[in-house]
Amino acid sequence: MPERMKHIRAGDVMIPLDQYPHIPYWFTLRQAMVEMEKSDLLVEGRQSLPRVVLIFDERYELMGMVRRRDIMRGLEPQVLKKRPLDDRRRMFSAEHADHLEEQSYEAILAGVIEQAESSVGDIMLPIEHTVDFHDHIFRVVYEMNASDLSLLPVIHDGQVVGVIRSVDVFREVTKMFL
């Protein structure tokens, strides 16, 4: 099996772009959530929900991606954003939200609903890390670790042709041992 690993490239493991969920940047967080909850990815007979949605511009060029945690952060009502994010231990944390007790549940809910209508373009992660179609899978592992990302775009001849997920990379790697 290790011998087989010699030949596994990013292009062998990637999901082609047209099969992966994506939306334009002006779509809302709510629409991004729909994309995550109502897509199903079938890879090697396994079905899963996407944890990341790709963001394109009107010319169908890839601009960024949103992860579940980006959406969660984006949903946070303005009223809870009094302190800088890095001062708090987790999103929606009440520890430092001095005014939380003054806020009713309804007010917070209204704030979340309002935030859900904001644009994904405002919260997306820009594309800063990619792998090449011909990159060896170990290089993909390296890039994922270095960037702390579980999904990377795959580039072929200067164009994005697909994405590679950590779950699929992990499956290939475990085949060495199972």
Partner: protein, 846 residues
């Protein structure tokens, strides 16, 4: 039914020559839009069919091709009317693309005037349209490959047409064919009898008779002592459909019976089995004019069939030679079991052989025709061929396959001097199956028969129904397991409704085998006394293992189900793909691109796109390129990032360019204002890009569209009328509406096409829009990613509500296709938008 009327009549102001010129142009422009709509519908439908989810037949392809040609031809005519002679070049482009389409069509052009006869030595395969496929392939082997093919000549399809026309047969035949129910055998027999008798009573025209006799005399002079066979060579035969054994062939024909036999071959196109084959493949008899070949007959010591691949196991590296003593007809008719040689294609080694017991052989009768005779005892158990002969045949087979670049089914004969002759070659029908890897345990099954040979793989459950002649066929029940000692002519007439075939004699190399594989009916041969199989209880036929089991075993049928890729091996699907290359791809995208010229039109879609763009330019700019703003009539002044140029049918163009801007609150066209208010109320979805500017080109993008992915939109309007061609991103919509005080005249028409995402996502968007329009009361039709919807007879208030809703919907669905990766997401958006438009279940429409 919505009736559309000419909007110009509803709002015609007092006479004005400048306005008249505009209106005159607009009439042509409207006609062009109508044709454009038709062309888009046809192209989208063909693309949709090519996705593999819908079945279609040759008739569909033929009709679609005729429609798109007619439509685009008319588009070109109108363009020339609208823009003048500089668009004449489009006619050349249209003719050239049309010629490429012709090259892809199996039935070619209608049979044109030709010579009555052509020597085989002067024929190549490109003349299949003129002489029929069988003659053309014989000519090809003889003239191009210099292979041993008997001497002979073709009687052309034109001769057949001439015979029919002189005798006024065409209409009479067509009428009878139109009336036949091909699923009723008795009906087939009756109509067949009527048509054949009509043909057999008709005289051969003198000029044709003379031509046939002259060619025959020349052939006989060049081949003294030879005898001749007259064989059918229909135009579609052996190419797109095998028609194996469907038409007549006369062996050892006497000269005085030449014309009579020729006429009988023409009539054989209308035997019950041939009519069934014709109609069950939705072919029209005009598509299959009959060529006939007169060829020197080989007094065969042995003859047979050579398959250059295993027809039920194409992965095998072996080819097969099937051989019988005497003439090969006894083999293909399934009357004699053949010797079979399995030969390795790589080294021509014989790796397997089966030698049959030979009781009879078919030989030429001295008085004409053929007779069966007993095989002498010393030859009964001896192979028909020497190993060298089998290998030589195999080499010829590989040579022919290489020439045609596809597996071949070749008929051959060896004379008493040991010389090999090739009598026919055609594409080999292969059932591309993957034998299921999942093993199934049959040890508990009661075996009724075993040891059969796979003719067509698969399995079936049913009740046994024995037949021995055509007389038994009317009673064959649907889904029957047909059993017979040997194949006989006419079996094809029940192919469409039986579950399996079991025979005692015969094998893969028979005409029955070819046709069973075409109809994909599990078939086995070599089963002892199949007629005695139990009839009162179901049986299961296992055509992969060659066995028959007692009882119904649906799990076996499931396991033996060949993994057909529905269209992978269907010639008809390939044909559609071949044709689409000249119809659907769009190479002319961006009007500002220097390559946006008629010379670059490579498909019907290109011409349609080019004409649509140029018609707009002619209408709005008098032929000046888009971008020269001084030529624009009126321009809509609006907050949304859309450029909309407008022509008023009832308003003069101001002389000063500065006065040509029209605020969107002062459009002055009731329907346009109603639509536009809906569009504006929904709000433009994105006003500015996010701060991250970097972006990566993707394979989903469209080259050439970068600088103008959203082109200008155009409207022709009057106080009560609008037609708006709206380009938003990668899709375009057309909204046409007439809104008067008379609700009977009012209508809205909506069309939508294209998008930037993949075709499945675009189709989902069309479904979302269709559903919402349907809830608004529209009648709609969609083909692929093209949608056409209309509604009429609405009062003024309802027109306003619906136009407003359509305006909102237009914005809501902008580039929505990008997001529609699954049907569930599309369903979610349908309900989401329905709520926003007040169209959710239980709500009153907008």
């Amino acid at each position: 039914m919505v009736r559309f009327r000419d909007p110009r009549k509803s709002s015609r102001p007092k006479e004005d020559s400048a306005l008249d010129a505009v209106r005159s142009k607009f009439a042509a422009f409207l006609a062009l839009l109508e044709r454009h709509h038709q062309a888009m519908t046809i192209i989208s439908d063909m693309e949709e069919k090519s996705q593999g989810e819908y079945l279609f037949d040759l008739n569909y392809i033929r009709t679609s091709v005729a429609q798109i040609r007619n439509c685009v031809s008319r588009l070109v005519d109108i363009m020339i009317e609208l823009g003048g002679a500089r668009y004449q070049i489009l006619r050349d482009r249209f003719a050239e693309i049309g010629a490429r389409i012709d090259d892809s069509l199996p039935w070619c052009r209608s049979t044109g005037i030709d010579r009555f006869t052509l020597p085989l030595a002067e024929i190549g395969r490109e003349q299949a349209c003129s002489v029929g496929s069988k003659n053309a392939q014989m000519g090809e082997m003889k003239s191009k490959l210099n292979l041993p093919v008997p001497d002979g000549f073709a009687i052309t399809a034109w001769s057949c047409r001439h015979f029919r026309e002189v005798n006024d047969l065409n209409d009479r035949i067509s009428k009878r064919l139109a009336a036949v129910n091909f699923l009723e055998y008795d009906d087939l027999v009756r109509i067949s009898g009527e048509i054949q008798s009509m043909i057999n009573r008709a005289p051969i025209p003198d000029d044709l008779a003379e031509a046939i006799h002259t060619a025959y005399r020349e052939l006989a002079t060049n081949n003294p002592g030879a005898r001749f066979a007259l064989r059918s060579s229909a135009l579609g035969e052996d190419s797109w459909f095998s028609f194996a054994g469907q038409y007549a062939t006369f062996l050892n024909v006497q000269p005085e019976k030449l014309l009579e036999c020729y006429r009988e071959i023409l009539a054989s196109k209308f035997t019950p089995k041939a009519i069934y084959y014709l109609l069950s493949h939705s072919l029209v008899e005009d598509d299959l004019a009959m060529g006939v070949g007169l060829v020197e007959m080989i007094d065969a010591r042995a003859a047979g069939v050579l398959y250059t691949r295993n027809p039920v196991n194409p992965e095998s590296t072996q080819l097969q030679v099937h051989a019988v003593l005497g003439l090969g007809k006894s083999l293909v008719d399934g009357r004699c079991d053949p010797d079979v040689f399995h030969i390795d294609r790589a080294n021509m080694e014989i790796v397997g052989r089966t030698t049959a017991l030979k009781d009879i052989r078919l030989v030429m009768s001295p008085d004409g025709g053929t007779v069966e005779e007993s095989v002498p005892d010393e030859e009964r158990t001896v192979p028909c061929l020497t190993d060298d002969q089998a290998r030589r045949l195999a080499e010829l087979g590989v040579e022919i396959e290489t020439h045609y670049n596809k597996p071949q089914d070749i008929e051959w004969a060896i004379d008493h001097d040991g010389r090999i002759f090739l009598l026919q070659t055609r594409p080999l029908k292969i059932v591309s199956t993957e034998t299921p890897s999942e093993p199934i345990d049959v040890s508990g099954f009661e075996v009724l028969r075993s040891g059969g040979v796979t003719v067509c793989p698969g399995a079936a459950v049913g009740y046994v129904y024995p037949v021995s002649s055509v007389d038994d066929l009317p009673g064959v029940p649907d889904k029957a397991i047909l059993v017979t000692r040997q194949p006989f002519p006419g079996l094809v007439t029940v192919m469409g409704r039986i579950a399996a075939i079991v025979t005692e004699v015969g094998g893969p190399a028979t005409h029955l085998g070819t046709i069973a594989r075409e109809y994909r009916i599990p078939t086995i041969a070599g089963i002892d006394e199949p007629q005695t199989l139990p009839r009162k209880t179901p049986v299961t036929v296992d055509a992969i293992e060659g066995a028959v089991y007692a009882g119904a075993h649906p799990e076996l049928v499931e396991a033996r189900q060949p993994d057909y890729d529905l269209f992978a091996d269907m010639d008809i699907f390939r044909l559609l793909e071949d044709l689409l290359v000249h119809v659907a791809p769009l190479h002319l995208v961006q009007p500002a691109d220097p390559g946006f010229v008629p010379e670059n039109c490579r498909t019907m879609h290109d011409i349609t796109r080019y004409v649509h763009q140029k018609a707009i330019e002619e209408m709005f700019y008098g032929g000046i390129r888009v971008g020269d703003s001084t030529q624009v009539f009126h321009r809509l002044k609006t907050e949304v990032p859309l450029t909309v140029d407008m022509i008023y049918l009832d308003r003069e163009l101001p002389k000063s360019p500065s006065r040509r801007e029209v605020k969107d609150s002062e459009i002055g066209s009731k329907p346009m204002e109603q639509f536009w208010s809906g569009l504006m109320s929904e709000g433009w979805p994105h006003k500015s890009r996010p701060k991250y500017q970097a972006s990566f080109p993707s394979v989903l993008g469209h080259k050439g569209r970068e600088s103008g992915y959203s082109e200008n939109s155009f409207a022709v309007i009057s106080r009560e009328y609008m037609v708006l061609s709206l380009r938003m991103g990668y899709h375009f919509s057309t909204v046409e509406a007439l809104s008067t005080s008379d609700s009977n005249k009012n209508y809205i028409r909506f069309q939508h096409k294209q998008g930037g995402a993949s075709l499945p996502r675009r189709i989902r968007r069309v479904k979302v829009i269709s559903e919402l329009l349907s809830r608004l009361g529209f009648v709609h039709q969609s083909k692929g990613d093209f949608l056409s919807a209309s509604i009429g007879h609405l009062d003024g208030n309802r027109m306003a509500e619906i136009l407003h809703a359509v305006g909102r919907l237009t914005v809501m669905t902008k580039q929505l296709d990008m997001a529609l990766s699954t049907d569930q997401i599309a369903d979610w958006y349908t309900e989401e938008f329905a709520k926003r438009l007040g169209l959710a279940a239980g709500e009153n429409p907008a």
